[in-house]
């Protein structure tokens, strides 16, 4: 079994396991990081989203081998950042959280969107979040939360 090395939430990790395993399973079962969720297992819902070298990626369709040498950030790492605090405040204030199963993925998508476009329009936000499904909220409160974070988090993104 080859050794796979990568950075996870700022710390080096090295694993001796089947490189074809789904990265989501490795995160959740091997590394007990259960912040990324499994909603569909087919790359459609974004509940399992993580950042890889800053890019949003659905970990359920990613073989472990593909993260070799990369920097991975999950919600567990991201929640320690200043940007997270801004998004957290905005999601709460706008009432954007219902059942919550999609929300860690939405936060990752919000970060990825704001990192690439710190002043998004409503349409930019909708397009930026369109890889993440939410069945509870109808999205409007989430869109407002991202907007609020963009305004309040001036200079952070």
């Amino acid at each position: 079994m080859p050794t796979i090395n990568f950075t996870l939430n700022g710390k080096p990790v090295s694993l001796n396991t089947d490189p074809t395993r789904r990265f989501l399973d490795v995160l959740r079962e091997e590394l007990t990081l259960t912040g990324p969720k499994e909603g569909c297992g087919e790359g459609e819902c974004g509940a399992c989203a993580v950042l890889i070298d800053g890019h949003i990626t659905n970990s359920c369709i990613l073989p472990l081998g593909n993260v070799s040498g990369r920097e991975v950030m999950t919600i567990e790492g991201y929640r320690e950042t200043k940007r997270y605090r801004v998004l957290e405040e905005a999601y709460i204030a706008e009432g954007a959280v219902q059942c919550g199963i999609c929300i860690p993925g939405m936060i990752i998508a919000s970060e990825s969107l704001l990192a690439h476009n710190p002043h998004p329009t409503d349409d930019d936000i909708r397009i930026g979040l369109s890889g993440n499904l939410c069945r509870c909220t109808g999205y409007n409160m989430i869109v407002r939360a991202v907007k609020r974070a963009a305004t309040r988090g001036k200079g952070l993104w």
Binding site: K37, E42, I75, L133, G138
Partner: protein, 697 residues
């Protein structure tokens, strides 16, 4: 505490946002095993034999022979087996579980099991009625005789899948002769009571705990009882922790959905008014009845939606087919009927060549009118102002004139609707008999002991607010943990828009009592039980009387643009006004409004699920399309304050109401855009193409 409707941060929001919240799939035990289900590949067949390969050490199969009690899942109609024994009735019907330590080996074993079937004749058409209900109001026969003219139309609706983002799941343990189930469920006591029957055991031997639920929408009302029973049988046999989590495709393939329906409405018209309606709705129950009879009740009671018609002849059937069983889904039969009725009123007005808006207003229900089932609309009805406001917000009248030109391919549609709050008829008083407990500990913390589940709709935050406000305590002094049947009495399932109104009402009463009898530093327990308001009378045999203690009301306006070439529909904006009594938290109610309307509108034009010979064709998130942030239009929503005397602070139901009007509003908008009548939903481009090429008007 400020006014109850003012929003507070949801009490579980931080844990959910940070990924710290534990859902059932996130739980594990050290010596845990995984279970997978072996399912029927046939729509209808006798099982000749089941060949199980030699199982490796530590692997087990569990089937109907392991059931100590009844091989039936206790629901309303008890016809749903825990495991198929000799006959299968639908594709995907569970036959056995394979259980073992390595998920991948379990899957290999599932694939290696060979079942030999003797095919039987399946039924896919709605012909075999297993439940039939009927009621009359007034004298429909005479009204039809006296009519100037009669008009009849047919309407159809398709499947809808709840598509909660968290698939169904349970984890269970066996300790000290007790079975302990933790699951993503809406009704802890439904699961517990079902398991007791299947295990034929003492009630104390079963403990059911709700894990944080990642969306439910009715889909986790009765279906989890089936999974809970199966897992209990496995735990009893193997006596090690077991996890049973569905993958997306399995979940979509085998769990309950919204019933496809066919409705025929015939109207008697005299002097420009509808004097009588004859309505028949047929719903496809699938292979087992389960809750379908209750869904049918709500559907037929919704026969006149927000209108008053004096003479009615309403009937309905549940048809058994060899397809996946259908069941609870937010709205529970009402969306199918309200879609049909709203379309019918429009189609009649068009047929009579009168202004649709005026025609509908003439029939709008008023306080003091008799309901469809000859009960009474006792409370004020704010619909005239709500309709006017929705028209003003959306510029409805200007747009409907402008869009009458068939060249512009734009449309605006408006639906008016109501939703009965709480269980239908005598359900609350006779079947549920909700009980709650308020427990104050010596340290002054107050625990809500209720079986109500927060599945995202905000039950925890709202019920805690009710308790805090009544007790005049800060929210931090109130505690509300996920229900555990060892700790909470049966306050009923979290369904039927009853939680805020019924359970919240009990919480408010108990809190009032606790406040009056409060003694510092003491352990105090207050019990409350539901008592039916004495004016509510219901006859289940004749379907007459007050079907619900209260009604919530709503108006949706949907604007669309239809692409001339592809006939794809783009929803531009949704305006709504709702009367849910008193809002217990504006953000929470507006969130229900946005999410419910999104589901309702998507039901009307976007969400397609079909089967071929009993095999579902849309069973993953790629094939079954739900709205993304791009599909979902912006919403403008206003809430009307119309306190209901018996609800806590005046609250009525809010959860389902917001879904029921979406489909007719979008269908009417599409109808205006293409200039042809829409008789079936979802109104997909393929359907619209057919309508444009074949229909006459």
């Amino acid at each position: 505490m400020p006014d109850i409707h003012q929003s507070v941060p949801k009490i579980d929001a931080k844990e959910k946002i940070s990924g710290r919240m534990t859902y059932v799939a996130d739980m594990r035990y050290d010596d845990m095993l995984y279970a997978k289900t072996v399912r029927s590949s046939q729509a209808h067949a006798r099982i000749r034999s089941v060949r199980v390969p030699t199982l490796p050490e530590g692997y087990h199969v569990v089937d109907h022979r392991d059931i100590p009690g009844k091989n039936v899942v206790k629901m309303i109609f008890d016809d749903w087996p825990v495991f198929a024994s000799d006959t299968v009735h639908h594709v995907g019907e569970p036959i056995m579980l394979v259980v073992g330590p390595d998920k991948r080996i379990v899957q290999t074993l599932v694939d290696a099991i060979v079942i030999d079937y003797e095919p039987l004749n399946p039924t896919f058409s709605m012909t075999d009625s297993v439940v039939n209900y009927h009621y009359d109001k007034g004298d429909p026969a005479s009204a039809f005789k006296a009519a100037d003219t009669t008009v009849a139309y047919d309407y159809e609706t398709g499947y809808q899948e709840q598509a909660y983002i968290e698939p169904q799941g349970f984890i269970g343990t066996y300790d000290d002769e007790r079975i302990h189930l933790i699951g993503s469920i809406q009704a802890p006591y439904y699961v517990k009571n079902a398991v007791i029957d299947t295990m034929a055991c003492d009630p104390d031997a079963i403990r059911v705990v709700q894990a944080t639920v990642g969306g439910a929408f009715g889909g986790k009302e009765e279906f989890p009882s089936l999974m809970g029973c199966q897992l209990a049988v496995a735990l009893n046999k193997i006596k090690r922790p077991i996890k049973l989590i569905y993958e997306r495709e399995e979940d979509m393939d085998v769990t309950t959905k919204r019933h496809p329906s066919k409705t025929r409405i015939e109207g008697a018209i005299k002097e420009g008014r509808i004097t009588a309606l004859r309505i028949h709705i047929g719903i496809d129950g699938g292979a087992f009845i389960g809750l379908s009879g209750v869904v049918l009740s709500r559907a037929i009671i919704a026969a006149t939606s927000a209108y008053t018609v004096d003479n009615l002849d309403v009937s309905g059937d549940v048809y058994k087919t060899n397809t996946v069983p259908n069941g609870a889904f937010r709205g529970f039969g009402a969306p199918q009927m309200i879609y049909a009725v709203e379309m019918f009123f429009h189609h009649v007005a068009k047929h009579l060549n009168v202004d649709v808006h005026d025609f509908r207003l003439k029939h709008l229900a008023k306080q003091g009118n008799h309901t469809s089932t000859s009960g009474l609309f006792r409370d004020p009805i704010l619909m005239p102002e709500m309709i006017e406001r929705a028209c003003a917000m959306s510029d409805y009248h200007t747009k409907r004139k402008a869009y009458a030109n068939p060249e512009v391919y734009k449309g605006i549609g408006m639906s008016w609707f109501l939703h009965g709050c709480g269980f239908t008829g005598s359900g609350e008083a006779e079947h549920i008999k909700a009980k709650i407990k308020l427990e104050k500990l010596p340290d002054g913390l107050v625990y809500l002991r209720v079986a109500a589940v927060d599945m995202g709709q905000g039950a925890k935050t709202t019920l805690m607010k009710v308790a805090a406000k009544t007790l005049d305590l800060p929210l931090e002094r109130i505690r509300y943990e996920n229900p555990d049947t060892d700790l909470v009495p049966d306050s009923g399932p979290t369904v039927a828009s009853r939680t805020a109104m019924v359970v919240g009402g009990l919480v408010a009463r108990a809190a009032t009592k606790l406040k009056k009898t409060w003694i510092d530093d003491e352990h105090q327990v207050i019990h409350e039980q539901y008592v039916q308001p004495d004016y509510v009378r219901w006859n289940q045999d004749t379907f007459t009387g007050d079907a619900y203690p209260a009604y919530s009301w709503g108006v949706n306006v949907v604007e669309v643009e239809v692409d001339k070439t592809t006939l794809e529909v783009e929803v531009k904006h949704i305006w709504s006004t709702y009367d849910v009594g008193q809002s217990l938290d504006d953000n929470i109610v507006l969130g229900q409004a946005d999410g419910g309307t999104a589901q309702g509108v998507a039901y009307g034009y976007l969400e397609v699920m079909r089967h071929r010979e009993g095999k579902l064709l849309h069973k993953n998130m790629t094939d079954y399309v739900i709205p993304t942030a791009v599909d979902m239009a912006k919403t403008t929503t206003e809430l009307y304050n119309n306190p209901f005397a018996l609800g806590p602070y005046g609250a009525k139901g809010a959860g389902e109401l917001t879904l029921v009007g979406g489909a007719p509003a979008v269908a009417l908008a599409i109808e205006m855009a293409i200039g042809k009548r829409v008789h079936a939903i979802p109104a997909t481009p393929e359907y619209l193409m057919e309508v444009l090429h074949h229909a006459n008007d």
